[in-house]
Each structure stands twice: as C-alpha cells, then as structure tokens.
C-alpha cells in the first residue's frame, strides 16, 4: 500500500527466528557440522559514500558487524562501504546505476555529503520521466559546515576574525588586480582561489551556490531569473577567473597546499579554498586528505589553516544516510539499512564521528575537541545559513557554472609505446590503447566549446625529424573546431616503440608555458602505461627541479601536469612526483577497465 513506509517485525517472529537459529547453532555444534551457511545468509547492505567519510563509515561498519545490532530477523548484516563522490553517484543513480561490475555495487544506502544531492537526483530522474529514488528523507548522522580555509597569516591580513568576512569579500579580493599587494603582502602574489567542480563535489556545489547568492546580494530565494542577470553572470565569470584549477575533490587542493607548506612555500599555490570544516581539522593535524596510509605519520603544517565562517551564512554538509527506494533494494536490505542507521546515530558512535572532525548528528553529544580554536575553528559558528535553492535552481546553478567557468587550454599527451598494444580485455581482445582511445574520445564531451585542446603522442623515435620522441597530431585550438580532428587522430593511434617519459613531460610542459594564456587553466594531461625507457634522458631529479622552480613562488605562468598511470606497469610513483611538482594531481587507472571514470575525473579539473 505505502511504499514509503517501513515495517517493524513483530516480536514473536523475531523471537521464533532467533530461537530456531540458536537451536540450529546448538544442533550443528553437537553434530560438529560447519556453518558456512550462516555467513552466506547475511543481508548485505552496500553503501555508496562520499570520499571524506569513507574511513569513518568503514570503521563504523566494522564495529556494527561485530555488534548485536547487526541482526535482521535472525540474519546477520554485512555492511560494505564503497567510495563514490556525491556528484558521480547522483549521475549513476539518475541512470539507475548501470553496469555494477564497472561502477561498483548498486547501493542500498546512499550517503552523499549533503541532502541537496538527493533533491538533485530526484529532479534529474523526474526530468527524464523516472521514479524518485529518495522517497523518504535520509537520516543526517553528522554535520560539517562549508568554510573558507585560508593560511592563518592571510586570514590575519584581511582582519579575520575581528572583521567578519564573507564570500562576497573573498570573491572581491579574488578580482582585485593588485592581489595581495593591496593588503601589504606583494610577496604572496595574486589572490588564487581553489574550487572544486560542482558537477562532482559538494563543496564545489555549495561554494558555487554561495557565489551566486553573493552576486545577487540575497541569502534566500535564489531564482533562475537571478542566474540569468547580466551583472550576476559577470560577477561569476570574474570569480572563476581567479581559480587555480577545478577537480573532483577538495583533497587535491589540500594535498597540494600541504606539500607546498612542507617545501616552505605555503602562500604560492592557493590563497583560499572552500572546504568542509572537517578538512581543516585534518589539515591542521598534518593529515590533509584525512586518510592515514600505512606507515604515514601526521606532521603538522608549518602554517595552519583558519576556517572563516562566512558572515552572510553558509551551507552545511549534513551527511544523510538515504535508504534508496530503488527496485534493487529488498525489504530485508532496507530493514538492515535502518538497523545500521540506528547504530551509527547512537551516542557512543557519535563520539567517534566527533573524533573524525565532524559535528555529531545526535544532540546528546556535545561539540568538543577537535572542533576548537586551537585547530583554527569556532564551534559557536556559523550563526546563520544560506537557503538551499530549489532543485530546479540547483540544476540551473550547475548549468550556469558550466558556461561561466574558467576556460581551459589543455594538451593531451598520450603514450603510444609498444606496451600499449597489450591486451586489456580478454573478452573482446581490446588493447590498453583501444580502451584509452575510447575513454579519451568520451572525455572530449566534457569540455566546453571555448576550451582549447590539442593532441600529442609520444614514443621513442616516433618522428623522423627533431624532436623525434613525440609528434603533435592536433595543434591546440578551440575544441568546437578541433573535436572532429581529435576524434579521428585518437582513433588512428597505434602502439609503436619505447617510452621517453621525461622528455615528453618536460617538453610538453615547456611548450604550454611558452603559449601560456592567463585567462585559462593551462594544463597537460599525460597518460602512460610504462616507465621512462629513454637512455638519452634519465634525469628525473632535473625534471622535477625544473617543474618546481617554475611552479612555485610568484610564478604567473602555472602549468599543471595531471598524470594518468595506466595499467599495472605504469610508474605510478614517478608520475605522482611529476604531478605534485606542478601542484596538480596524479590519477591511477591500474585496472584499464576504469580508464573512462579516471578520464572523467581528470577532465573535472577544467
């Protein structure tokens, strides 16, 4: 009758089932029969979680599995947590989560960073005539407000906290041609804004919403008409012009900022980044991505970040646990999902939430350490919020951003060495190069018509003329004109010789610097499946030094090299160092089947 309702099993049913299960256990124990069936009969609850709470949810899932609460009608519950950025999961759910083998298991619980994504999802599904998946509100199990994170001396320079600061102030600063010189610090160069792609990231979406509120002077009732106003459009374009680059996660910015800090250049990469408060906790603990890898020891940054709570209000990431009303979710799974939700919201587990830097969703647990002034935070803030726009306006914000975002100038540099001809998919016989070609062609659709994209291939002795190690197949130009050539040339690619990785990276970087366009994000996307095989150039230290020297300080021609390590044999470590030397990000597609998703993530930076 009522699909949105949920059912409590009657006590007798629960007891009888439990009694029979206990009896079965007793009997099998006496009969010395193994009981693998018990594990097999567990109800599995798959959770698609946004990245910043993956470790926490995994921890809670493990604890839940060991607890008495992991029981539904006498069956055990197995909670599995997989990473899915909020935007990417919304896109998959809008398409009814196709290809689980490639995209991960279909979730029973979806936990985006904010409930906003649930509204966006159902709006998208409604627009394509599909049934809603978010028919009951999720349970918000923890909160974290969006803040503007700044290195402490920079926040001091603009008078925070004595002077309340808002998005409008920061955005105005980002458009000031004198940059930090206007605040008495010419050595800090221009004001650089770090911002994630709102198609992928909750922080990016929230900041973009806040940006449009700032442009209109409103704090509520943002409308589609507002977005279309010329002065609002001009304001948004001005803000975007100060962006360093975009990306699918704020963790890229925080990692780059942290590395710059460790190298003694905490001001050269980004002046302000819109992140969740929790990320400031992690950063100031010396764990910028919030995940401690085995053997990793947190080291506090030299210059801590300060969280600025915008005076005009901000938005919260409320981390809902949404039990999806999707056809693949059974009643048992939904009941099991609610048992997990109840476990997570208990006061005991809410204290763990706090340890991870989130604000508890259970009011019985007080906000305390680590949300303290010592960590650059103020537990009494924020004092007001911006209103979350309607789903239609949210969709409009994303559409509008796609139009006004900073344009890109990108050189795709693709390895066509012999190993790219290795088979990657035994079912179809497709090679690594075949899969990469398909992914690259698909990713071209993500660029805007005004973006400029070119194609270079590299392999030893690929050209008869100097330079012999790479060849430009499509010169950089507007993708609106270049796209057919790019598609054709990518399609024609064939594997050839060895991998002159260092030469290809250095020369492509220099080439992009020579043609630097300050109005655009200038970047190289470097895809390779191998390691440097060029005896004529084995100077990695020299390459990294050259990249760092021209990236750090007051350099006004930053070119980012985003690397993709493709397949098992790729030199991931070196590619990571190359990317980090240019304050970009390294991506890994060790499993060639993931190359489409990886390409999409890379292109989210533009």
């Amino acid at each position: 009758m009522m699909p949105r309702s949920h059912v409590r099993a009657p006590r007798a049913g629960r007891r009888t089932t439990a009694a029979l299960l206990a009896a079965a256990t007793l009997l099998t124990g006496i009969a010395t029969t193994a009981i693998p069936a018990a594990a097999q009969s567990c109800v599995t609850v798959d959770i698609a979680s946004s990245p910043e709470k993956l470790e926490l949810l995994t921890d809670l899932a493990t604890r839940f599995g060991r607890s008495d609460a992991a029981d539904v009608g006498g069956r055990c519950i197995d909670v599995r947590v997989t990473r899915a950025s909020s935007g990417a999961a919304a896109t998959l759910l809008a398409a009814s989560w196709p290809k689980p083998a490639k995209n991960g298991p279909r979730p029973v619980i979806w936990s985006p960073a904010a409930s906003t994504w649930g509204a966006v999802l159902d709006q998208r599904r409604a627009e394509s005539g599909k049934e809603a998946y978010v028919t009951t509100p999720g349970t918000s199990f923890m909160l974290t407000p969006l803040v503007i994170a700044m290195p402490q001396p920079m926040a001091d320079a603009i008078g925070y906290p004595a002077t309340p600061i808002g998005f409008s102030d920061v955005l105005a600063l980002s458009q000031d041609p004198t940059g930090w010189a206007g605040k008495g610090h010419p050595e800090w160069g221009p004001f650089r804004l770090g911002k994630t792609n709102p198609n992928f990231s909750t922080s990016g979406l929230a900041q973009t919403v806040a940006q449009y509120y700032a442009a209109t002077g409103k704090t509520t009732d943002l409308t589609l008409e507002d977005l279309a106003r010329p002065e609002v459009d001009a304001f948004a374009r001005g803000v975007e012009s100060a962006v360093v680059h975009y990306g699918d996660t704020t963790l890229t910015f925080l990692n780059n900022l942290y590395r710059a800090d460790r190298r003694g250049d905490p001001y050269g990469y980004a002046s302000a980044v819109a992140v969740e408060e929790k990320s400031v906790v992690d950063y100031n603990r010396g764990n910028p991505d919030g995940i401690l890898d085995p053997g990793e020891q947190p080291r506090k940054p030299r210059v801590p970040l300060v969280a600025i709570y915008p005076k005009e209000g901000t938005l919260f990431s409320d981390n809902p646990l949404i039990v999806l009303d999707a056809p693949w979710v059974s009643n048992a799974e939904a009941t099991a999902a609610r048992a997990f939700t109840k476990f997570v919201t208990s006061a005991k587990n809410q204290r763990r939430v706090l340890e991870y830097g989130f604000r508890p969703g259970n009011p019985a647990v007080a906000i305390g350490k680590p949300i303290t002034a010592a960590n650059g935070l103020d537990p009494s803030q924020p004092q007001t919020t911006l209103e979350v726009p309607t789903p239609a306006v949210l969709a409009g914000v994303i559409d509008q951003w796609n139009q006004v975002r900073k344009k890109a100038r990108v050189l795709l540099v693709v390895d066509v060495s012999g190993s790219m001809g290795d088979e990657a998919d035994p079912r179809t016989g497709a090679t690594k190069l075949d899969l990469a070609k398909r992914a690259a062609i698909a990713a071209l659709d993500q660029f805007q018509p005004e973006d400029e994209v070119g194609l270079r291939i590299f392999s030893t002795e690929i050209s008869d003329r100097e330079p012999t190690d790479y060849r430009d197949l499509v010169p950089i130009g507007p993708i609106s004109a270049n796209k057919p050539d790019l598609e054709r040339e990518i399609e024609r690619l064939k594997p050839t010789q060895g991998t002159p990785l260092y030469t290809a990276a250095e020369d492509s970087y220099s080439f992009m610097r020579e043609g630097f366009d300050a109005t655009r994000i200038n970047a190289v996307v470097l895809l390779t499946d191998g390691r440097n095989e060029d005896p004529r150039n084995e100077d990695l230290a020299g390459l990294l030094s050259a990249l760092r020297t021209t990236t750090e300080g007051e350099s006004t021609t930053p070119v980012r090299i985003f690397t993709i390590a493709y397949g098992n044999d790729a030199d991931e470590s070196t590619l990571k160092r190359i990317a980090e030397a240019t304050n970009a990000a390294a991506y890994s597609a060790v499993d060639p089947a993931t190359i489409v998703n990886v390409f999409n993530a890379v292109v989210s930076n533009f």
């Binding site: 009758m1 009522m2 949105r4 309702s5 949920h6 059912v7 409590r8 099993a9 009657p10 006590r11 007798a12 049913g13 007891r15 009888t16 009694a19 029979l20 009896a23 007793l26 009997l27 006496i30 009969a31 409930s115 906003t116 649930g118 509204a119 509100p137 999720g138 349970t139 918000s140 909160l143 407000p145 309340p164 704090t219 509520t220 005076k311 005009e312 209000g313 901000t314 919260f316 409320d318 809902p320 604000r359 508890p360 969703g361 259970n362 009011p363 019985a364 647990v365 007080a366 906000i367 009494s380 803030q381 924020p382 004092q383 007001t384 919020t385 209103e387 979350v388 726009p389 309607t390």
Partner: protein
C-alpha cells in the same frame, strides 16, 4: 556412555527444549491477544511522529507495526476504493485526531464508505511548543511583548541587525515540520493560524483575508526550505545550532525529551515556550472497518502497553509516568484548541499557494 550416545541424548534434549519453548511462546501469544482470529499478528499503521511509541509497543507486544507519514496515509486512506479496504493490510491506525476526521470527511465527500471507524478517546496528548535560542529570545523581547505567533508574524524574515541582533545572525528563521506530511507541522500551523485570526475555530474565509495572508505568509516564507530534508527541524536546530533555525515550533513530545537528552552546551541555550492559548495534538486509535483484528488491536493500543509506550515516547498520558523532559505544566486544555479538520485542509491549501 559413548560419545555418539551422549550426542544423541543431547540432540533429543535440545529438540524437546525447542518444542517446549515454542509451545510456551504460543500460549503466551494467545494470552496476550495479539494475533488475529484468522492468524498472524495484529497489524498497526503508525504515524511517523509516533514512531518511537510504536517501536516501544512492538517491543512490548507482538503487534506488527508499519510506520508512514500521516500525509501519505491520509491520502491513501482517503482514496482507497471500497472494495479494496479489506486488502489494506492493517487492523488499525495510531495517529492524530484531526487525521482521522480528515479521512472520514474526504471519503464522505467522495461518496466512499468509511475506511476507519470511530476513533478512540485521546490516549495521549502533547502541547505545541516553541523552542528558541535564549540570545535570540532576548532580542525579540525588545520587539514583542512575548515570543509567540504574533511576534513571529511581525519579525520573521527580518534581518536581525534591524532588530538589534548580531550582524552574523542573518534573518529571523522560524522552522517547523512539513504540515503536508507530519502531524506536528499541521498542529503548528493550525495554532499559528488560530492565533493570527484570533479564534480557535477559524474558517476558510478567514484564510482569504489579506491581513492574515500577509502575516501568515511572512512566517511561512521565512521558513528555510532546504534544511528539513534529513532530520526534524528541532533536532537540526540542536545539532546545527542557531545557524539552522532561530526558533522552531513543534510538540512537547518531541522537544522535551530531545532537549533533556541534549548536551548541556545546547540544552542551556534553548528555552521551550508554550504559546497561549495552549493547543494540543491528541493521539487516537482508529480501527480499520471490517478488519478482523481491529477490536483486539484497540484493546492493546488503548490498554496498558499502548499507554505506557506513548508516555515513554513523550506524550502526556494520565496515570502514566511522564518521560524525562516532559513537565506537568502547563496544564492541558479540555479540547485541543486547534481548528477543525476541514479548516486545516483549507489552511494547507492556503499555505501551498503562499509558498509555491
């Protein structure tokens, strides 16, 4: 005795114990009167705000509980065809008095047979309350004689700086549950409307009055729309602080226990106020017409287990120990002081027109 013999003996004993346990359980179940004459457990449809009480009832008895928002249940029960009533799958509905009357009125207008019978007397009651941050209340006290609906109609949506508040407080943000879905929300706007009209029995015509529309609309338009999705407004107020809401209207059954359990840093900063005249949300049991377990379920729900479950969930139930955070005062009025069912339906329509 050999190992094999010992195992066999243990097996026999175990089977005997299971048989005995099931037999005893069966007798207890029969004694409890919580199975239907046609077999299976009694089936209760439960309004979402009563979820805690229904969970408690399910833990005390063998009643099978289904929880659903009242708005959804009202829509379904109002429209179900006469021939399909027997397939509803419920023996009764635990909800609020006005919901039952709305369903009965809707079916009468549609010339459908009644789906629920005459409701019980109120089993538990809870008054409408306003939770307000103390620092905000102090500022409001300078603007209004008392924090209540007339005051909110004056200041909702106004910048706090215009009222003498802090620049970082933004505008005055009231909050309440969605009245289209949840009984607390409907009670809240019912009390607000009655206060603004000046009578406890306002009619549809009163809601068309320009002055009413202006003042009621000011409150409703100032309710932040995007914050209620993943938790109740009062819970959100406590977890997100005054950033989320400056003042939240709900019922004592929710706010009292929640505030009592809240950490001191929140609890000590929030006042619970009872706008006058006190209005109450009254919980009733309504039997599903023709359901074979309706009478037995009424006995369970209105009996000791049902009353205790409601009291534990924060409702005031005469003779039962109140939950922590539920005071004895103010005394509750004899009647709910809320508009009638038809008037509330008209108010919902008015609100939809105002908020779009």
């Amino acid at each position: 005795m050999t190992t094999a013999t010992r195992r066999l003996a243990a097996l026999v004993v175990a089977i005997a114990m299971i048989g005995a346990a099931i037999g005893i359980r069966s007798v207890l179940d029969d004694d409890a009167g919580t199975t239907r004459s046609t077999g299976g457990p009694l089936r209760l449809l439960c309004a979402t705000p009563l979820e805690t009480a229904c969970d408690e009832l399910a833990s005390r008895t063998d009643v099978r509980v289904t929880v659903a928002p009242e708005g959804e249940s009202v829509a379904t029960l109002s429209q179900v065809a006469d021939d399909d009533i027997r397939d509803l799958g419920y023996d009764g509905w635990l909800t609020f008095e006005r919901d039952v009357q709305i369903v009965r009125d809707a079916r009468e207008r549609a010339a459908l047979r009644p789906v629920v019978g005459a409701p019980s007397a109120a089993i538990g009651r809870t008054p409408v309350v306003l939770g307000v941050w103390k620092d905000r209340a102090e500022v409001l006290a300078q603007q209004c004689p008392g924090v209540g609906w007339q005051c909110l109609a004056d200041v909702a949506g106004t910048a706090w700086t215009d009222l003498g508040g802090d620049t970082r407080w933004g505008s005055v943000k009231p909050g309440h549950a969605d009245p289209g879905d949840y009984g607390e929300g409907l009670a809240v706007i019912g009390q607000a409307a009655a206060t603004l009209v000046g009578r406890t029995d306002p009619s549809r015509d009163d809601y068309a009055d320009d002055a009413f529309l202006e003042r009621f609309g000011r409150i409703e338009r100032a309710v932040p729309s995007g914050l209620t999705a993943a938790s109740s407004p009062f819970a959100r107020m406590l977890t997100a602080g005054p950033a989320a809401f400056d003042v939240v209207a709900t019922v004592e059954a929710e706010a009292g226990p929640l505030l009592a359990r809240a950490s001191a840093d929140r609890r000590d900063q929030v006042d619970l106020l009872y706008p006058a005249p006190v209005a109450t949300l009254d919980v009733v049991f309504a039997p599903v017409v023709g359901a074979d377990g309706a009478d037995d379920l009424r006995t369970v729900v209105t009996g000791d287990d049902g009353r205790a479950a409601l009291a534990a969930a924060g409702y005031r139930v005469p003779g039962e120990t109140p939950a922590r955070g539920v005071p004895a005062t103010p005394a509750l009025p004899d009647t709910s002081n809320l508009p009638g069912a038809g008037s509330l339906v008209a108010l919902l329509e008015t609100r939809r027109e105002i908020t779009g």
